[in-house]
């Protein structure tokens, strides 16, 4: 179980508890956090689950693989050094307390 904070572009935030083996994307979908579209359902194809990991993050996240990197070149909101696809971020206790920022638009 991990607590994940989704910060919305308007400054509000939603905090939810997500269990393994879900992803940060599923955590948003399961808890009705709007702002993550996830059209491809988590297969690193659509880029509509884009998030910015909080700048101050120190929690261990998996390395970005080639498919994710490729998709992040074409997301609707600009790519930044902190950009990730939330469907490629598995939830575990190791990322308890993760904060992600939702981009202004996903499509």
């Amino acid at each position: 179980m991990a607590k994940i904070t989704y910060k919305h572009p308007d400054g509000t935030e939603t905090v939810v508890e997500v269990t393994a083996p879900n992803t940060v994307m599923r955590g948003a979908k399961l808890n009705g956090v709007e702002g993550i579209v996830a059209q491809c359902g988590g297969s690193a194809q659509c880029g509509t689950c884009h998030v910015y990991v909080d700048e101050g993050n120190t929690l261990p996240l998996p390395e970005m693989h080639e498919a994710e990197d490729d998709v992040l070149y074409g997301t609707a909101s600009e790519r930044r050094p902190t950009s990730r696809l939330s469907c490629q971020l598995p939830v575990s206790e190791a990322i308890d307390g993760l904060v992600v920022h939702l981009p202004p638009t996903q499509t």
């Binding site: 009705g32 988590g42 690193a44 194809q45 490729d70 070149y73 074409g74 997301t75 499509t107």
Partner: protein
């Protein structure tokens, strides 16, 4: 247009759910009622022909929204009770159970149903279509029992099922009546590449061949006969020969239909209070010369958003760039734009290495792209098409070292 009374959505699939969610996200406060024929809450169909069959994706991962969504969003969902009639004189729909629901605005999101096989033996046990979660559960069970699998139709669904079944170690044959795979949807270059991939995985791919009959034993399918006399062992037959839009209700209510419920740029039927979206709708688009009907999650989701915008006072025509994806043989295949009318193709990348994009042009203008394991090309093409600019010229793409990323201006 009326702006009072409930918004009633017929169908509780992808487009319907997204309509409800988009209305509430925009702060719309009229009652919203979803009426669906299936008893399951709205779920994602794409995994049904992919990870769900192999067990990689579980049922709990299919639900599009959490359990409490409807209550929390104050959306009423009537499930397992199809709409059987629309009465436009009294602005009501009638349900199979006999109930009636009054609407201020009606949104038809009835989707499509599989085209049925019309050969002898088509109703034997072991013959499957794949549209619903229920279909997928049954097919998954049948594949689990092993044996010879025959896939009829080399389109998206057929090929995804073939790939999943091979992944489970089954013997798989695909029979396609046309000269190439996914003939209606993709270029010859991509067709040929996919055929090679499927064959390399050990799937038998038979082109230009038609199924003429299925023969069974004790009611179960055993053998398939093709038009060239070939007989194939078949314990499981999956029919993937396309779908037909569910237009019956609309037609009965006197709305114009013809390969879909006919709507205008705002996705409205001839009745100002009735919209149609998703797989069941045929609409004009700047991306094609003629009105089209599209079967994709992108189209369902973005049409839902467009209707929700119209109902919340930010009316805009539907102009979204169509895109599709499929997963077969472990590769990511993504298509942007409608490439049906192109006159020139230029390939960037390396088909031999399994990473390439076929860029399609009409009269020198980029109209679409098909990417295999090259998502950046796909996503950037979508953005270039949305921006309506010219994009790269065919000769640019043909130059060694071409990189589409350089064509994306920050504003596009």
């Amino acid at each position: 247009m009326r702006d009072t009374g409930p918004v009633v959505v017929v169908g509780a699939g992808h487009a319907a759910l997204e309509t409800a969610a988009a209305l509430r996200a925009a702060g719309h406060s009229r009652p919203v009622i979803l009426v669906g024929a299936e008893s399951e809450p709205p779920y994602a169909r794409p995994p049904l022909s992919k990870g769900y069959l192999t067990g990689r994706v579980g049922t709990e991962e299919l639900w599009l929204r959490p359990e409490g969504f409807f209550a929390r969003q104050d959306v009423t969902a009537v499930l397992g009770d199809p709409v059987v009639e629309i009465d436009r004189d009294s602005d009501r729909v009638r349900l199979a159970s006999g109930g009636r629901i009054a609407y201020g605005t009606l949104v038809l999101a009835t989707g499509a149903r599989p085209r049925r096989l019309s050969v002898p033996g088509a109703d034997l046990d072991g013959v499957f279509a794949l549209r619903s979660l229920r279909d997928a559960r049954e097919l998954r069970r049948a594949l689990g029992a092993g044996g010879d699998v025959l896939v009829v139709g080399g389109g998206f669904i057929g090929l995804e099922v073939a790939s999943a079944a091979r992944g489970l170690g089954l013997r798989v044959t695909v029979v396609e009546a046309g000269p190439r795979l996914m003939g209606r949807a993709v270029t010859g270059t991509l067709s040929a590449h996919l055929a090679e991939l499927h064959r390399a995985e050990g799937t038998r791919v038979l082109l230009d061949r038609e199924l003429v009959a299925l023969r069974g034993e004790r009611g179960r399918v055993r053998v398939a006969e093709l038009n060239d006399g070939t007989r194939l062992a078949a314990d499981v037959v999956v029919v993937g020969i396309g779908v037909l839009p569910n237009t019956g209700l609309a037609a009965q209510a006197g709305l114009t239909t013809g390969n879909g419920v006919v709507v205008d740029r705002w996705l409205r039927t001839g009745d100002r209070n009735v919209y149609a979206i998703g797989d069941c709708a045929r609409f004009p688009t700047p991306h094609a010369a003629r009105p089209v009907r599209l079967e994709s999650v992108q189209n369902a989701t973005e049409q839902a958003a467009c209707v929700a915008a119209a109902l919340t006072g930010t009316r805009r025509p539907y102009t979204a760039v169509p895109w599709f994806w499929t997963e077969q043989c472990g590769v990511r295949v993504q298509m942007a734009g409608l490439t049906g009318q192109h006159d020139r193709e230029v390939v960037a990348g390396s088909p031999a290495e399994g990473r390439f994009t076929v860029f399609c042009f009409r009269a020198g203008r980029l109209v679409g792209a098909e990417s295999v394991n090259r998502s950046a090309d796909h996503l950037i093409t979508r953005r270039l098409l949305a921006a309506g600019g010219a994009g790269p010229a065919p000769d640019d793409v043909a130059r060694p070292g071409f990189d589409l990323r350089r064509h994306l201006s920050p504003s596009a």
